[in-house]
């Protein structure tokens, strides 16, 4: 049975201990050179947070992708459950007026 708060709710969590000792899974977020917020880029294994940042540097920033790296243990991420997507998201589908698409944004404002 998967926990509703797991970062990967679709993947059942094993209740028994893993057969092999594995390093914990870390989710990696990188702020790009020109981006404004950290974006999730993927995940990796590492023994601790310092090595997770070093591994993220090697796995995800080889091509000058980032100026800042965040890592967080995947088990610390709370996620919504796919089975609740009806009540969570469908009520906003018919409310087009919630999208502020009727305004012209001046160019000087830049990315929003």
């Amino acid at each position: 049975m998967s926990s509703p708060n797991s970062a990967y709710p679709d993947i059942p969590e094993t209740q028994t201990k893993p057969k092999r000792h594995e390093w914990p899974l870390w989710e990696v977020f990188i702020r790009g050179q020109h981006g404004m917020s950290h974006r999730h880029v993927g995940s990796l294994h590492a023994p601790d947070e310092e090595m997770a940042i070093k591994n993220a540097r090697d796995v995800y920033t080889r091509r000058n992708e980032g100026v800042s790296i965040w890592v967080v243990e995947a088990s610390h991420i709370a996620a919504s459950s796919p089975s609740e997507k009806g009540p969570l998201y469908e009520p906003s589908e018919s409310k087009v007026y919630r999208h502020p698409t009727f305004f012209d944004i001046p160019e000087e404002v830049g990315a929003m």
């Binding site: 590492a46 591994n55 090697d58 796995v59």
Partner: protein, 255 residues
């Protein structure tokens, strides 16, 4: 300020370039075999950094020599007796711990050496060092963290790291033994005095090994003969048969 001869400068550049070439090839041997994917990528990155530095050092060596040899010619078409790398660089990978110990012991020297070379009176050498030192700063952080993690880890990992240190420590001294070439470079302000680097090295390495709960072996014995070309260990010849195979079998092959 004293002048150095073209031969001395060529020799010095080959030492720098052969260290990174031979160690870079050694580290690349892990590609596809490292214990976990993340370490595999990190080791391959380190190897690529070192090979990139080799291109700069041996490229400059070829220019200084003035016989039209490229970095590739120097790397791929010399035999064992012409290589000027320290013996530490050519030692086999062993287990992952031994590889990381070798890396840390080399990286700490490499960082001290390159930091000094950024102030070289030779403009091109200072420029190469400035580019390389940023990569090496990262190498030594990673290898040092790994040495601490494994040394102060389980009894199995601790034992393997102590064995690696016992095996490799006698190769450390060679990086600091100076000869006429080093003296000439220091006198001309091209490179630093190796004795000064040793003090920096010890100040860096000793606390890391202490934190890793590892004991530095006693005794001052040092294997040497690599950087002078006097005598390499048997491992270098085997490495070259792999590294140079393509150019030997198909001379001039390109892609």
């Amino acid at each position: 300020m004293a002048d150095v001869t073209q031969e001395q400068l060529f020799e010095f550049l080959c030492r720098m370039g052969d260290n990174t070439l031979v160690l870079g090839h050694r580290v690349s041997e892990w590609c596809g075999y490292a214990p976990v994917l993340e370490e595999d990528i990190a080791l391959a990155n380190t190897a690529l950094d070192l090979i990139g530095q080799t291109q700069m050092w041996l490229g400059l060596a070829g220019e200084v020599e003035g016989k039209g040899r490229t970095a590739d010619d120097i790397a791929m078409l010399r035999d064992v007796w012409d290589f000027r790398n320290v013996l530490l660089a050519e030692q086999p990978n062993g287990d992952f711990g031994q590889t990381m110990m070798r890396q840390f012991l080399f990286d700490a020297w490499h960082l001290a050496m390159l930091t000094a070379l950024t102030k070289s009176t030779h403009e091109q050498i200072a420029a190469i060092a400035a580019k390389a030192v940023k990569e090496v700063q990262y190498h030594v952080e990673r290898s040092g963290e790994t040495v601490i993690g494994l040394g102060d880890g389980t009894s199995e990992s601790h034992k393997r790291m102590q064995d690696a240190l016992d095996l490799l420590w006698p190769y450390v001294g060679e990086m600091f033994v100076n000869d006429a070439i080093d003296d000439a470079m220091a006198a001309a302000g091209i490179a630093a005095d190796l004795a000064e680097l040793r003090a920096q090295y010890d100040a860096h390495v000793t606390p890391v090994l202490a934190e890793a709960t590892l004991m530095i072996p006693e005794g001052g014995f040092t294997h040497k003969g690599g950087k002078t070309g006097f005598q390499h260990t048997e491992h270098l010849g085997h490495l070259l048969t792999q590294m140079q195979w393509l150019q030997r079998a198909y001379p001039g092959a390109t892609w």
